[in-house]
Amino acid sequence: MAHAMTVPESGHAPRPRKAPMPPVLRAFLWAAIGFLLLNTFVIAVDPFRGHPFVTGPSVVFGWVGAAIGWLLGIGLYDAVLLPLMGFPTRWQERQQGWRRYWEFATDHKVIGLQYMMFAVGGFLIAGGIAMLMRYELMTPYLTIFHYPSNYLTAVGIHGTLMMFSFATVFMIGGLGNYFVPLMIGARETVLSKLSGIGVWLVPVGILTVLFSPLLGEWSTGWRGYEPLAGQDANGILFYYLGVLALTMSSLIVALNLVATVMFRRAPGLTWGRLPLFVWGQVTVNLLMLIWFPEIQTTFVMALLDKVVPLNFFTATGSPLTYLMLFWLFGHPEVYIIAVPAFAIWNEIIPVMAQKSLFGRQWAVIGLVFVMMLSGLVWAHHMFTNLRNSEILPFSFFTEMISIPTGFAYMSAIGTLWKSKVRLNTPMLWILMSMFNFLIGGLTGVFLADPIVNLQLHDTFWVVGHFHYTIIGSMVFSGFGAIYYWLPKLSGRTFNETWGKTLAIITFLAFNLTFSQFFLLGLHGMNRWVPAYPAYLQPMNFEVSIFAFILGAAFLGNILYIGYCWRNGAQAGENPWGAKTPEWFTSSPAPRYNFPVQPEIVGSLYLYGEGTKVPVVTTALGELAATSRATQDPQFDWHDYAPDGGGVTS
């Protein structure tokens, strides 16, 4: 209903204009139309007995229609399709105000914040579900969930949203999109329009997975295991489709960031000088480019297994194949989540210690080798299904991977050694992250051992282990990074007492919750069960109490960061005395990041006597990789026409 807006036009407007519909609402409307069109078409050509309006096949096609309608409605139609076809468009990118976060944008900083916003939304939804799970586990019998399948669906939604809409998204789509261009002195990303579209696939994925119970329960967790999924009701369809949308979004991020790092580095920013955080992003983006197409193919095959049905992974086909294909992606996925955290440790520690980064090359080599080894360990998730001869190589590589991971620790500890480190809130989060990941890593060494693994498989020990690695690395480092970059993101800062208090409460609640998971696991607490033997109740009960405190602590941090974003004290331009390029422009950075193209003239991680300021803002317009002019604020892709536009300076 287009109600009468205040009419600010004062006569020079060429024609009266109806206030447009908010893009998000238009996207919902067009998604509903898209769904109805395709769903009805499929029902018409492929009716089921009894004529239900929504069937398995029809909902799959209807979903595709809804996703297309959603993207068109959010801005694909006005901003991309119309210009592409040569039609005039009213679309104009908004340069300021809160509205630009709720529509299609091409500014990587807006897109980065959109990713963070959606990721935090996914985190809060999935975290809320975790609270329900812990409430259920306070008693050894079913309470708030009526049947085990309801509980399993909740576990599945929790895991899927946490992995694909938060852990993979926050640091890469969010912080990566925001900071990678800034840190390499770029003025925008290469595929900015594609990136602006890709971010809107995240809400598609979150809502699809969240509403999967409408189609029925599914029991497979975040892994969609076949042939178990063959036993599931149609809810599993929305798992495949939702994850398809989420991984597609992350794939676009990876493509865009790798291309940006390759082609848009500032002059002087050689690969040897590339910031650690950017190295972390490049390595995980390569991992995503390799493995996401693989898992998307697998999910499409599983989807066809269900709706056609074909028999790729069912008992008629090969049940173990799905497990192999899933974990081929699944273990690199763990490092896609963790490697940016390793990178951020060594980004923040030298700044807070004001001491040169120790063994910088080794820190980078560690990231790259973790990336490469991560593709060789997948079968350790399936030791119970393998023979000893097949287990051993995977056990070997799994234990090997702790060596390059150790390089990240070595650089961090080497930098901290004899330094006068400022133990402020970001630093505290980073140290907590390193401690938690150490616990996660050490318990992982136990799991890499086949004999122990066969005992601990599917117990809470494993659940404790991966929560320590994922939350311990990614979430704690993520909070560290947000507190570190808050002055950059908002121009404002936080109160150290509040920041540290919240960090310490979160750390204690986290450890009190998840360290007891190891004990529960050793005592025989199984995963995937809402009802368990009564002797495990006391510990489960108190674990749940700590889990609720942890949930409240995370929420408290998010609210406090939001408060400081708007109301915090004004921060200085470079409050931590960092040397990476993102601090050499105003906070928050203007539309094209730097008033002129900066040049990198020294190492970004050297501190102490005789070191120089590494970033200078020269008048040169050349990039490290290209010689295209980018100084023009009206810059667009036409400048990249083969004749070059002739504007190189």
Binding site: H3, A19, M21, P22, F28, G97, P148
Partner: protein, 217 residues
């Protein structure tokens, strides 16, 4: 005009000066409404459906009725019958992979649905088909049939029905199987549940269930 005065030009909300402005109120109200609608669909579907049925009622089916079994739901999952009507239910298993049955009764003891406890041998405390005369015909792909206390007439050779004992009145069909059940709706008015208890009640728990409202004659 008033709004051209310099005072109004300096409106504090700088957003309003931008082109292509969409309404903040529409955005907030619209997304909140979609959120509420989403929550209701996710958690309150059944209550909505029940409320609609109690207001608008539901058409009485008689004569030939198709009952299809899929994984894991029935179409239809709600029917209204009237006492004394002559019915022929054609029960068909449409699943490509799963065995499905049709049982009907009242009161499942759900306390038994636990990982560490007993599963009940007889699912319904009260079997709808107790003492009901029913004629079975056109058996195809029958895995087994348990008559329990029903008074059953079999059309054709009995071997095709694979008659077994134990448990409720329950025709269990192989994938693609079908069976015709002809009967006069007995004088048992009220709300009856039906469901599929195959695979240790997993089908039932996953949502393979429905209801029949029987109206007095």
């Amino acid at each position: 005009m008033e709004y051209e005065s310099p005072k109004d030009e300096k409106t504090p909300n700088t957003e309003n000066s931008e082109e292509n402005q969409w309404s903040r109120r529409q955005f907030l109200v619209g997304t909140a409404a979609i959120g509420v609608a989403g929550a209701v669909t996710l958690f309150g579907r059944q209550s909505l459906v029940n409320a609609a049925r109690s207001v608008f009622g539901s058409p009485v089916s008689s004569g030939t009725v198709h009952l299809y079994a899929y994984d894991y739901y029935y179409i239809p999952n709600y029917m209204t019958w009237r006492v004394g009507d002559r019915m022929e239910v054609i029960f068909q298993n449409q699943s490509h992979t799963h065995w499905h049955e049709w049982t009907m009764g009242r009161h499942v003891n759900e306390a038994y649905f636990q990982a560490f406890g007993n599963l009940p041998a007889d699912a319904w405390q009260e079997d709808f088909w107790d003492g009901v005369p029913v004629t079975l015909s056109d058996p195809y792909g029958i895995d087994n049939f348990v008559p329990n206390q029903a008074i059953v007439t079999y059309v054709g050779p009995k071997a095709a029905y694979n008659i077994q004992s134990g448990g409720d009145f329950s025709p269990t069909l192989k994938p693609g199987g079908s069976l015709h059940l002809s009967f006069t709706v007995p004088n048992k008015p009220g709300l009856w549940d039906f469901g599929c208890f195959v695979q240790q009640y997993i089908h039932y728990r996953t949502g393979m269930r429905g209801q029949v409202m029987i109206l007095p004659a």
